[in-house]
């Protein structure tokens, strides 16, 4: 990103960033400018959003698909979205995904578990470049495990941009590591404009962890693409009962419980089969159980699954089992129900909020309770009292859609943009009053350093000399929504298969 084409800069005539002092809050496009772009759409504010997280494609998971799907739906609604993440191996620089979704893979050092290092300072030049180039108005950071997300929030506040944060996970309070992480979260969120959580339990958790005012925390659940998860009863073998488990094989997903459930139920029911998709350190537990009870023909371990194969595995089963020990939202049970399976799950975290009682059987996280729950569902299955998969699918398909998520997130952006971004003195005061004397002092100091560093960068590379990127919707949005209408929704599928490389 070092090279800058001095010629051929595309500046729309009413670029608000040029008429304002550099560190002041950037406002939205005035309504007349959005009208100038035409298309006779409703006069909603158009936001230019930068999603920042360490976790994005080619990494796979809940956060990654959330960012991707939300971005696609926001683009569909006429907003501009760019994504910033760190470089994944060879995948560095700028890439374009479906519908011109631009992704910056920034060369930042990965430290642990795909999370970058944080110094609160060093990522400013790169992120500032992205924010200025793309004329970003809202910075939306994802996941509390992502150091880059917290860095981006820190810099965005320094640059006077509005900030939104989405927390995807639950965290405890008791041990040393959570005390430290919660302190960092307090610091990071104390002056963030709005926070989004994926379930009410997650909201309670985040409010307590970061000592927040609950009014600035919204609950917007995750969604599942119902067209990806359709039932197919012909794929089932009805001479036996198949229990499907699709999850990473790690402690937090309760795989140890699964290792107790398998022998308990297999000795009682001789037509019971387990189909387990996923990989992880706890695979050894399942292999030992399979070895000891000689269940090789009845417990199949499929190993890591591609996202596109998950549905093919799900439709082979009658019952979907989730044994998680903690979960903020749990997309897996929605996917299972969407494929028409009977869902049995542990009652932990936000799971009780996700599906209505007729679609899920909730159990305590113990082997005996889960076995009892499974037994009732097996009995129901044998007596044929379960609704047909198509009925279950039609109930689930409207519950969680990405369009609904995007609509609600849009309102969060509207709200966040109406709030002021704290100027430096007020921000320092907020840090010191909210985060305790010691952390408050340290982070106030870092905020001042960040501010001075921004000043230096603005002197070195003034904002008006940084090229404004051409939107993927073309100059003046001439390839805008009407152009995109021709493209079918099926292009939106996660994971983004083909992407074009920016030269």
């Amino acid at each position: 990103m070092g090279q800058k084409k001095r010629s051929g800069r595309v500046h729309p005539p009413t670029c608000p960033s040029e008429t304002q002092p550099p560190a002041a809050a950037r406002t939205l496009d005035p309504p007349n400018s959005s009208k100038a772009r035409g298309f006779g759409r409703e006069e909603r504010a158009r936001h230019r959003i930068c999603m920042v997280s360490d976790f994005f494609y080619p990494n796979m998971g809940g956060v990654e698909s959330h960012i991707y799907q939300l971005s696609q739906c926001l683009i569909e609604k006429g907003h501009k979205v760019v994504i910033a993440t760190h470089a994944y191996g060879n995948r560095r620089g700028i890439r374009y995904l479906t519908n011109g979704l631009k992704v910056y893979y920034l060369p930042l050092q990965v430290m642990y578990n795909q999370s970058t290092t944080t110094t609160c300072i060093h990522s400013l030049p790169l992120l500032r470049c992205v924010f200025v180039r793309e004329r970003v108005t809202v910075v939306h950071a994802h996941s509390s495990f992502s150091a880059m997300a917290h860095d981006a929030l820190f810099h965005a506040k320094t640059m006077g941009l509005n900030t939104v944060f989405t927390d995807h996970s639950l965290f405890g309070f008791a041990d040393l590591s959570s005390v430290l992480t919660n302190k960092l979260l307090t610091v990071s969120l104390c002056d963030t404009n709005h926070i989004v959580c994926v379930s009410y339990t997650s909201k309670e958790n985040t409010v307590l962890r970061a000592a927040l005012n609950p009014d600035i925390v919204s609950v917007i659940p995750n969604a599942v693409d119902p067209t990806d998860f359709t039932p197919d009863p012909s794929r089932r073998d009805n001479s036996k009962i198949t229990i499907v488990v699709v999850s990473r094989l790690v402690y937090r997903k309760g795989i140890d419980l699964l290792g107790g459930i398998i022998p308990e139920l297999c000795t009682k029911h001789h037509d019971l089969y387990f189909l387990i998709g996923g990989e992880g350190p706890k695979r050894i537990v399942l292999e030992e159980v399979r070895e000891k009870y000689q269940l090789h023909d009845r417990v199949r371990l499929l190993g890591a699954l591609d996202h596109k194969d998950v549905r093919d595995v799900l439709v082979q089963g009658h019952i979907f089992l989730n044994t998680s020990l903690t979960e903020a939202f749990c997309m897996a049970i929605v996917e299972g129900a969407s494929c028409g399976l009977q869902v049995v799950s542990t009652r932990v975290g936000g799971i009780p909020e996700v599906l209505p009682d007729e679609l899920v059987t909730l159990c305590e996280p113990t082997v005996s309770s889960l076995c009892a729950g499974l037994e009732t569902v097996i009995a129901r299955q044998r007596s044929g009292k379960v609704p047909p998969p198509a009925d279950i699918h039609s109930k689930v398909r409207t519950l969680y859609t990405w369009r609904n998520v995007a609509e609600r997130t849009e309102k969060v952006y509207d709200l966040a943009c109406r709030q002021p971004v704290l100027p430096l003195p007020a921000r320092l005061q907020r840090l010191q009053s909210h985060c305790g004397a010691f952390a408050g002092f340290i982070f106030s100091f870092l905020a001042v350093i960040d501010f001075l560093f921004l000043f230096f960068l603005q002197w070195l590379h003034p904002d008006h000399l940084i090229d404004v990127a051409v939107d993927a919707s073309g100059p003046h949005s001439c390839w805008g929504p009407s152009f995109k209408k021709k493209a079918k929704d099926s292009n939106r599928a996660w994971p983004p298969g083909a992407d074009t490389r920016h030269c």
């Binding site: 639950l170 965290f171 405890g172 309070f173 008791a174 709005h194 379930s199 009410y200 339990t201 997650s202 309670e204 958790n205 409010v207 307590l208 609950p214 009014d215 600035i216 925390v217 919204s218 609950v219 917007i220 659940p221 937090r252 309760g254 140890d256 419980l257 290792g259 107790g260 022998p263 537990v285 030992e288 159980v289 000891k292 020990l325 903690t326 939202f329 542990t346 932990v348 975290g349 936000g350 009780p352 909020e353 996700v354 599906l355 209505p356 996280p365 113990t366 082997v367 005996s368 519950l399 969680y400 609904n404 609509e407 609600r408 309102k411 969060v412 509207d414 709200l415 109406r418």
Partner: protein, 296 residues
């Protein structure tokens, strides 16, 4: 979602029914709605143990006697260093302590014994033979290191021994604490005048840091009443012994022991009131059952 279901919209004038904590139903409340039921499942201090002062004092006896053990060891070393005690006297004393101690340990052990006595004798013989054979080597091991460094290292290692001692499960002593203590004793022993001195010192180190915690643990298990007496005896021995070589040190030690056994428990019991531990549905579920039965 209705028009006023976004965050920031004014709460609906006539909400249909009460708010429910579910995500699957579209409810006529804004997304940032904070209900009366917000945080109603929050629980505080559900697994907090209430301590009684004298019970805690009794438990601190273990810490106090371990500190005193270190003091006893340093006393023995300094007596030998100054030539007040000969190595043969110490070796006889060690035998005199070890044999009744072993007898007591066996007596309290009960009948379910897996290890034959011959094995015990064998390990003792191997240890003594090797230490005796290697004591000239150990004696000259740190010759090239300055005495100050050796003392500093010993002090740090004895401190590490006290810090890493597994007070909750003292038998057998944890490997880090035992190794730190033996390292310190080798350092100190190498500054003594002769090879037999070194041998005597190491034998005592083993007695004090390895065997005594085992005996004490068994005393606590099988004859609860004797534990305070044993701990008190060791403390008195530590203070008394240190008083013979360094009266100021003895004063400091007795002060430290008093603070440790009387003031620290008071502090713990008082601070217990301020404990604020929060639990709720977001906590990671614990697996309390023993799942290894499915595997073994």
């Amino acid at each position: 979602m209705g028009a006023n279901s976004g965050p920031g919209a004014s709460p609906c004038a006539s909400p249909v029914g009460p708010w429910r904590k579910v995500l699957y139903a579209r409810q006529p409340f804004p997304d940032n709605h904070v209900d009366r039921r917000f945080l109603e499942e929050l629980r505080r201090n559900i697994r907090v143990r209430q301590y009684r002062y004298w019970a805690v004092v009794r438990e601190t006896g273990l810490v106090a006697q371990q500190v005193s053990c270190v003091a006893v060891f340093i006393t023995l070393w300094s007596c030998m260093d100054q030539g007040r005690l000969g190595p043969s006297v110490l070796l006889w004393a060690a035998t005199g302590c070890a044999l009744p101690g072993y007898g007591l340990y066996e007596m309290l052990g009960g009948k379910d014994r897996e290890r034959p006595r011959l094995a015990d004798l064998q390990s003792a013989a191997v240890f003594l033979a090797f230490t005796f054979g290697f004591s000239p080597v150990l004696k000259t091991l740190t010759e090239s290191v300055s005495t100050d460094t050796v003392y500093a290292m010993s002090a740090v290692m004895l401190l590490a021994h006290l810090l890493s001692f597994p007070y909750t499960q003292p038998s057998p002593p944890g490997s880090l604490s035992l190794n730190a203590a033996l390292f310190a004793s080798v350092c100190l022993a190498s500054r003594l005048p002769g090879a037999l001195h070194t041998f005597a010192m190491l034998s005592w180190a083993l007695l004090v840091f390895a065997l005594w915690p085992c005996l004490l643990h068994r005393l606590r298990e099988r004859a609860e009443w004797s534990f305070p007496w044993a701990a008190g005896l060791v403390c008195a021995g530590g203070v008394g012994g240190l008083g013979a070589v360094w009266p100021g040190g003895a004063l400091l030690l007795s002060l430290a022991l008093l603070v440790l056994t009387l003031a620290c428990p008071l502090l713990l019991v008082c601070l217990q009131r301020h404990k604020d531990n929060i639990h709720g549905p977001w906590d990671e579920a614990e697996i309390r059952e023993d799942l290894s039965r499915f595997l073994s």
